[in-house]
């Protein structure tokens, strides 16, 4: 466990993380002053924590696909999230009554949603690994397939999910004042972090993303790695879909159609290298919180959303300039530190 938590001294080595933490802190301070403390009220904190997971889970998927290198990206996340939620919303009530056995209903709902996510990810992985399609093209295609399926299943209208207490708790409930959806997100974050840092899978993924050719000669099973990665992406999308369905007690094919670009923005601002081989979950987390803090701050002050978009863009540019990137010349000197970051499997 000690190995898992990086010692504080090593934290200061990651310029990206320091920068993101600084920006988070700064925005929070500005928000506190401007809102006369209201920003730190429990209502607002809960509201922000429950808004964050939907898009941040998708960003984790983007991060995983980007790390795998070779132009890896998963554009199908939003479509898959909606399809997974919708399939469960349409199927489960037919077989299980939410009123009679709410727990069984919820368990079946969750499992079906996650299963669809894994299946969707498997499809992406198979196409990319065996048909050798560029990830961006493959996932663009599957995105349309997933979205189209969701439209066809629902005739384009929202699918209503009847109120079932345990299911509704997932998206709306709190545990010790912390939104359950946020706890799910934290669990996903820990899972991905654990896989990337502690498991051989993570080490192989970073190596494959850094140098695919070398990875092949090193005997890394590329096809299996790709399938695993995209299934993990699918799982993240399904979790996001589950939270959405529970949160809005409905599923709709076009919900969150603006999420894709935001998720990519979060990943890139979190220092994930779009060319592959580098990305930290902690940075992605703080990158997501920056965007959430900003957007909630703007809503609190009643500032136009267009200005919000503009601020996000500005922030991305500042991040790229100040926090540095693996590709900048002075950064390459410290590059080996990142590659060596995951400890060897014991």
């Amino acid at each position: 466990m000690m190995k898992f938590l990086p010692i504080p001294a090593s934290w200061f080595k990651d310029r990206q993380l320091n920068f993101l933490l600084g920006v988070n802190l700064l925005i929070t301070l500005i928000a506190l002053v401007l809102s006369h403390g209201e920003f730190a009220g429990i209502d607002n904190l809960q509201s922000m924590a429950s808004q964050l997971p939907e898009v941040a889970l998708l960003a984790l998927g983007i991060m995983l696909s980007m790390i795998s290198g070779n132009g890896g990206i998963d554009l199908s996340g939003v479509g898959l999230a909606n399809l997974a939620g919708m399939t469960a919303a349409l199927t489960v009530p037919h077989y299980i009554s939410g009123d009679d056995s709410p727990v069984l209903f919820t368990v079946a709902f969750v499992l079906l949603t996650l299963a669809i996510g894994l299946l969707g990810g498997l499809l992406n992985g198979l196409i990319i690994a065996y048909l050798r399609l560029t990830p961006i093209l493959c996932t663009l295609g599957t995105q349309l397939v997933f979205t189209g399926l969701a439209v066809a299943l629902s005739n384009g209208a929202s699918v209503h999910v009847d109120y079932v207490d345990p299911l509704s708790e997932i998206g709306n409930g709190t545990l010790f004042q912390v939104p359950i959806s946020f706890l799910i997100f934290v669990a996903a974050l820990l899972l991905v972090g654990w896989i990337l840092r502690q498991r051989p899978f993570g080490l192989k993924l970073y190596l494959m993303g850094t140098n695919p050719k070398a990875a092949v000669y090193a005997g890394i099973p590329q096809a299996r790695m790709l399938i695993g990665t995209y299934m993990l992406c699918g799982l993240m999308a399904a979790l996001s879909g589950l939270i959405v369905t529970s949160h809005t007690s409905s599923a709709k094919w076009d919900y969150g159609n603006s999420y894709l670009l935001i998720a990519i923005l979060i990943a890139v601002m979190g220092g994930v290298n779009p060319a592959g081989g580098y990305g930290r979950v902690l940075c992605v987390l703080f990158s997501a919180t920056v965007l959430q803090l900003l957007s909630s701050l703007f809503n609190l002050l009643g500032i136009s959303q267009f200005f919000g978009d503009c601020a996000w863009g500005f922030l991305l540019l500042v991040t790229l300039a100040f926090a540095g990137n693996v590709r900048l010349p002075w950064r390459s000197r410290t590059k080996p530190a990142h590659v060596a970051a995951p400890p060897p499997p014991s």
Binding site: L26, I30, V33, L34, S35, E38, G41, D43, N44, Q46, S47, S50, Q51, E54, V151, N155, G156, A157, S158, H160, S168, G171, N172, V244, H247, T248, S249, S250, K252, D254, Y255, G256, N257, S258, Y259, S295, S296, N299, L300, L301, G302, I303, S304, Q305, F306, G308, D309, V318, F322
Partner: protein
């Protein structure tokens, strides 16, 4: 050095934000109008109504906001932030009414008054305001279309979004009306245009390619008519096709001039914005709307009140405005 410059920039930003926050902090009663998407003419016009209301009621902080992108998720986030900001009342034009149910329920549980517009299926609302009966409006549009087509020929219906309930009701009202005329041949029922003028243009072009002998279009979203107008002009069919739909005179004017669009109908979003805010104010004061009441706004002089799907009521105004080439200039928005 870099850091100093950065700090200066941030200080500048925070000063600007400070000024904005001071401007916002007028009055304890806050009514926020949340629209489907900001930056389109329809909701810009609605904002004029909200601003007029704010001017008439200096004690109330009333303003309009909405997502920059047409996405139910973004609208939901704004509403959640406003709930935690503890506004006094919300006036919402839902992007997709069912999506907002849990959030609006939360708002009402916390004592926030909720007024909705274009959402007569919203359960968690105090008052839903409809400019008119949607089916009757769709039928009226279609009656104009049928008359123009001499009650015969192929026609198509476009809707902004199949999830947008009122637009679907208009389309269904039109389709229902056309059943009176056996020679009216509906070839494309409810093609979706994503509330996007560009997409509407592409869809209309495809329809014209597929059915060269098409005689009429009925549009639903205010952008459908723009897309259809462009496609008709491009095909050189001005005056040969009958095109009717919801639209704004300011946007559709040039197509009415060229004959690419035959006629449009609309209600004034500014009045709707005023009505929503006025009713929100009444709710805050503990009053409610009753059948036959005069809200003091054109089209809302004798409102019909009926029970909504939830605990709230539905208030319907009377009348829409039909406009063609001859009189669209009277409505400059």
């Amino acid at each position: 050095m870099k850091l100093t410059r950065f700090a200066t920039a941030l200080a500048g930003v925070s000063l600007a934000l400070g000024a904005i926050s001071l401007a916002q902090a007028a009055g304890d009663v806050t009514i926020v109008t949340v629209v489907k998407v900001t930056g389109i003419n329809w909701f810009n016009r609605m904002e004029e109504g909200v601003k007029e209301f704010a001017k008439e009621n200096p004690g109330i902080n009333a303003y309009q906001t909405g997502p920059g992108q047409a996405d139910a998720a973004q609208q939901l986030k704004i509403i959640e932030d406003l709930i935690s900001k503890k506004v006094t009342a919300l006036a919402v034009v839902p992007f997709d009414p069912p999506t907002l149910e849990p959030a609006l329920k939360k708002a009402m549980d916390r004592g926030i008054k909720v007024v909705t517009h274009e959402a007569d299926n919203e359960k968690n609302t105090d008052v839903d305001i409809e400019a008119f009966d949607n089916t009757a409006y769709g039928a009226s549009l279609n009656e104009h279309l049928s008359a123009c087509m001499h009650q015969e020929g192929k026609w198509a219906v476009l809707v902004g979004s199949l999830g947008s309930r009122s637009q679907v009701q208009w389309a269904d009202g039109g389709i229902g009306n056309a059943k009176k005329y056996p020679k009216m041949d509906l070839v494309e029922p409810k093609l979706e245009t994503n509330n996007d003028g560009e997409r509407a243009y592409e869809v209309a072009k495809e329809v014209l390619r597929k059915h060269p002998d098409l005689k009429g279009f009925q549009g639903s979203s205010s952008l459908d008519i723009i897309g259809i107008g462009r496609a008709v002009e491009e095909a050189g069919l001005q005056g040969k096709l009958c095109v009717f739909g919801t639209g704004l005179a300011g946007e559709a004017g040039k197509f009415l001039e060229s004959g690419a669009v035959t006629g449009i109908a609309f209600w004034d979003p500014k009045i709707a914005g005023l009505a929503m805010n006025n009713i929100a104010k009444m709710l805050i004061q503990g009053k409610t709307v009753t059948n036959g009441m005069d809200l003091g706004l054109p089209g809302y002089n004798k409102v019909t009140v009926s029970k909504g799907p939830g605990k709230g009521i539905i208030v319907r105004g009377a009348g829409w405005i039909d406009v063609d080439k001859s009189n669209y200039k009277q409505y400059a928005f």
